[in-house]
């Protein structure tokens, strides 16, 4: 386990380093951020001053080594647009994205797993077909369109829920969350549903496939012969066995929707990291883009590590060291 962890950490550092290099060069290649940020009425000397302010008059490799030196000390540079540490800018918006994605994953799992189990158990009945068609819609309908439809139906036509924004927040352990107020819950419902559709569809399909596979296996026949109820077979035994692929995918999905909740955040004007990254790309705010992508890569690495450890917990046959024989 120890060797496994060390090897993982070294791999992660290599991935992070390569990632930072690729992003740095890539954003530099798009163009000069000053051309996008400066007011056109500014005279040439103000433009030169701005270029100098952001360190963009130095050659690319010098800028990169400067960045690397700071990164190793834990400082990922100052945002061009906000003149604050890029990490700080991202972290201010992280709680909003985190609560949205957590809500979305909870909705996806709470509805996805039972629906998948039902679809798998009664796989020949019409109810399964309905659920499966629903899941196809879930991952193929563009979330931008679904979001706008939700707003039109629930906010504009029916007027039950607010159209955009985050609700009132309370501070818990220094972090602001809107999940504890009624106003906050009203605001988060539509975006969370919108964001949950894609994961829910995948969870339904995976769960159904797993259930169908396992219902053919011998241990289910033996359990039935032993006289166990269908509910016990399904929810206690089959569910636990199909969780490995489902947990893997849920982990990946969680990372995915944290990093790329951009569309939902844009449609619902949710003040999270996704909106920040889109704005930063439009304005060529390189420090924020680099910091955000490094953070995302780090997050994926962490999630994968947790999932791998969960494997060994869920299935005692799985060993974590790669040279087990």
């Amino acid at each position: 386990m120890g060797v496994f962890l060390i090897r993982r950490v070294l791999q992660s550092v290599l991935v992070l380093f390569l990632m930072s290099l690729v992003v740095f060069v890539g954003v530099y290649a798009i163009g000069n951020p000053i051309a996008v940020l400066i007011d056109p009425r500014a005279p040439q000397e103000a433009i030169d001053q701005a270029i100098h302010n952001l360190g963009l008059d130095r050659p690319l490799y010098e800028q990169y080594f400067f960045f690397l030196g700071n990164a190793l000390a834990g400082h990922l540079g100052n945002s061009f647009v906000f003149n604050e540490p890029a990490l700080h800018v991202i972290m201010q918006r992280f709680p909003a994205t985190l609560e949205l994605t957590l809500s979305a994953m909870v909705i996806a799992s709470v509805f996805g797993l039972p629906l998948g189990l039902i679809a798998g158990y009664w796989s020949e009945r019409p109810v399964s077909r309905v659920i499966m068609t629903g899941s196809i819609l879930g991952f193929s309908l563009p979330s931008f369109w679904v979001g706008l439809m939700l707003i039109i139906v629930f906010s504009i036509e029916l007027g039950y829920l607010p159209a955009t924004g985050r609700g009132a927040t309370v501070s818990v352990l220094g972090v602001a969350t809107s999940l504890l107020t009624l106003d906050g819950l009203r605001h988060i419902l539509l975006p969370a549903i919108n964001l949950a559709l894609f994961p829910m569809a995948l969870i339904i399909r995976l769960t159904r496939a797993g259930v169908r596979e396992h219902l053919q296996l011998d241990y289910v026949k033996f359990a039935r012969a032993k006289g166990l109820t269908n509910r016990r077979i399904l929810f206690t035994h089959v569910l636990k066995n199909i969780m490995i692929p489902v947990v893997t995918v849920m982990g990946l999905l969680f990372g995915l929707i944290i990093a790329f909740a951009v569309v939902t955040e844009s449609v619902f004007a949710w003040p999270g990291m996704g909106k920040l990254i889109i704005d930063s790309i439009t304005l060529l705010d390189r420090p924020v883009i680099v910091a955000y992508l490094l953070l995302t890569v780090g997050l994926f690495i962490l999630i994968n590590l947790v999932v791998d450890i969960l494997y060994s917990v869920l299935d005692p046959r799985v060993r974590l060291s790669e040279d087990s024989r």
């Binding site: 000069n32 951020p33 940020l37 400066i38 056109p40 103000a46 039109i152 439009t282």
Partner: protein, 527 residues
């Protein structure tokens, strides 16, 4: 007896509550642009609109972008290189301190020395040699040479208390600590990416502002902003896309307010280079050996091939006006005698043949796709119109993050025929003359945005004369002459003037501003 007493009491309470809520006038605005809270850090027209709520300036601009007194109740040049500004007495900042000349000088100094700014305001203070406080309410600004446009430049410099100017850092302005100004509204809270909340300043020198509180919600996506208005989340939205206007006009719950913008949309032509990369031989695809855009007849032909009426009626959905020059009507230097170039495809073909291009040539037109209203569509329409007179057209649109670095680059990889928009509100006059059409001179800062490298010594002489003339009427006359000369020589191809489109819930009136700024002060309940 008891129940009727209870009912009476309840009725009284209800009446009081209803009475109070009828008094509370809160405005919620769904704004496209977020705000940078430090007023000296990031010069951007959307930022300056926000600052007008919280802060004051020496001078301000009205809805037609003309300079009016603000914290300075009067201003005049007392000699060729000195301007005198007299401050309004008794103006208080939100923390209770009074305004005096020290605050102005400290604010100017902060603008000059602020670190790490990606778009500094220093250009507006460029001509100033010295700022002197003659007495607590009088300031003399000495300039290196005559600066007739200095008041216009000073409309962007926010005045804050001198103690804050000397010590505050950029992040402090997100909090009550530093967000102290003299504007009609006071700072309550700011949540990055989410909203800005302001409350009325009852001590505002300009009279009691109407709204009790103003909340800006930042909603960048156009469709989401319209949805927020329709759903009742916000009372007012700005930068409405023309395609949403018919729906909002039809809806009984919303109203649309349209007004002229200061922004002219125009095309640059690369006339500086001997070979321009995007004007190519139709057969070989290689750039033509002699840049055809240098020929006045070719430039005229391109301008004549564009049907501005069709563009404004169809592409801009009637929400633009054809332009004859690069400054809108009502601004200083606008010459009413210059006609809009009439649509004349036959004349264009004849001119091209006369210039030696009977079959025209291959040409690429480039635009941004997300900066100006319908910019991508405008580009496509231009491509189609030019194709009709014989050009083999290619149309390229790209996001502004890619477009602007390339368009403004002077190191060779810029375009041949490309689109931009220029807002003249900063000066209130035809500043496109010296910003876009004067010969580029890095040392003097002339022609910073002369991206086609147009150079006409006769025009430069007129422009130089204009920028040194302190008398406004004389200066405007020279500008009119210069504009006529520039348009006759097709230095740029003006297309149309944009409109400002704001939508509100029914029952609100809004006066649009030429500088496209969204101000709570322009909104009030409808009569």
């Amino acid at each position: 007896m008891r129940t009727s007493m209870v009912r009476l009491a309840l009725g009284a309470v209800a009446a009081i509550v209803v009475g109070f809520s009828a008094q509370a006038a809160d405005l919620v605005i769904g704004a496209r642009a977020e705000v940078e809270m430090d007023p000296h850090f990031f010069w951007l027209s959307s930022n300056t609109a926000y600052y007008r709520h919280l802060y004051g300036h020496l001078v301000a601009t009205d809805e037609r972008a003309q300079v009016i007194p603000d914290l300075a109740e009067s201003f005049r040049p007392i000699d060729a290189t000195t301007w005198e500004f007299k401050l309004r007495p008794g103006v208080r900042f939100h923390d209770g301190s009074t305004l005096d000349a020290e605050d102005v000088i400290a604010s100017f100094e902060r603008v000059r020395t602020i670190p790490n700014s990606p778009s500094p305001y220093t250009g507006n203070l460029r001509g100033i040699a010295e700022t002197i406080a003659v007495d607590p309410l009088t300031i003399h600004i000495k300039t290196f040479k005559p600066e007739p446009l200095l008041p216009g430049a000073l409309t962007t410099i926010v005045i804050i208390p001198s103690e804050i100017a000397k010590t505050a850092k950029t992040p402090d302005f997100k909090t009550k600590k530093a967000a102290i100004g003299s504007g009609p509204y006071k700072f309550v809270s700011y949540t990055p990416g989410d909203k800005l909340v302001l409350t009325r300043n009852d001590d505002y020198w300009g009279g009691r502002p109407y709204w009790d509180s103003v909340t800006f919600k930042f909603i960048k996506d156009d469709a989401a902003r319209v949805a927020a208005l329709l759903g009742g989340d916000v009372d007012l939205i700005d930068f409405v896309s023309p395609s949403d206007v018919p729906r909002l006009q039809r809806d009984p719950k919303t109203a649309v307010h349209i007004g002229p913008s200061d922004r002219t949309i125009y095309l640059y032509l690369d006339v500086g280079r001997d070979v321009t990369p995007y004007a190519v031989d139709k057969a070989t695809g290689k750039p033509l050996p002699k840049n055809p855009l240098k020929d006045l007849r070719v430039r005229k032909a391109i301008s004549m091939a564009i049907d501005r009426e069709a563009m404004t009626q169809k592409v801009m959905e009637k929400l633009a006006t054809p332009a004859s020059q690069t400054v809108p009507p009502g601004f200083g230097g606008y010459n009413p005698d210059i006609p809009v170039t009439p649509y004349d495809p036959e004349g264009a073909k004849a001119l091209l043949a006369e210039a030696g291009y009977p079959d025209a040539f291959g040409l690429t037109v480039q635009c941004s796709s997300d900066r100006y209203v319908n910019d991508g569509k405008i580009c496509q329409a231009i491509g189609q119109m030019l194709a009709r007179v014989g050009f083999a057209m290619k149309v390229e649109t790209m996001p502004k993050a890619v477009y602007f670095p390339k368009a403004t680059s002077r190191t060779g990889d810029s375009f041949s025929l490309f689109l931009l928009g220029w807002g003249s509100s900063a000066s209130g006059e035809a500043d496109t003359l010296w910003n876009l059409m004067e010969t580029y001179d890095k040392k003097t800062g002339a022609g910073t945005y002369n991206l086609g490298n147009y150079s006409n010594p006769k025009l430069d002489a007129l422009i130089q004369q204009a920028t040194q003339t302190l008398d406004a009427d004389k200066r405007h006359a020279i500008e009119r002459k210069a504009m006529a000369m520039a348009m006759a020589d097709v230095a740029l191809i003006p297309l149309h003037y944009q409109s400002v489109i704001v939508a509100t819930r029914k029952g609100l009136d809004y006066t649009t501003r030429a500088d496209e700024g969204t101000l709570a002060m322009e909104a009030r309940p409808a009569e």
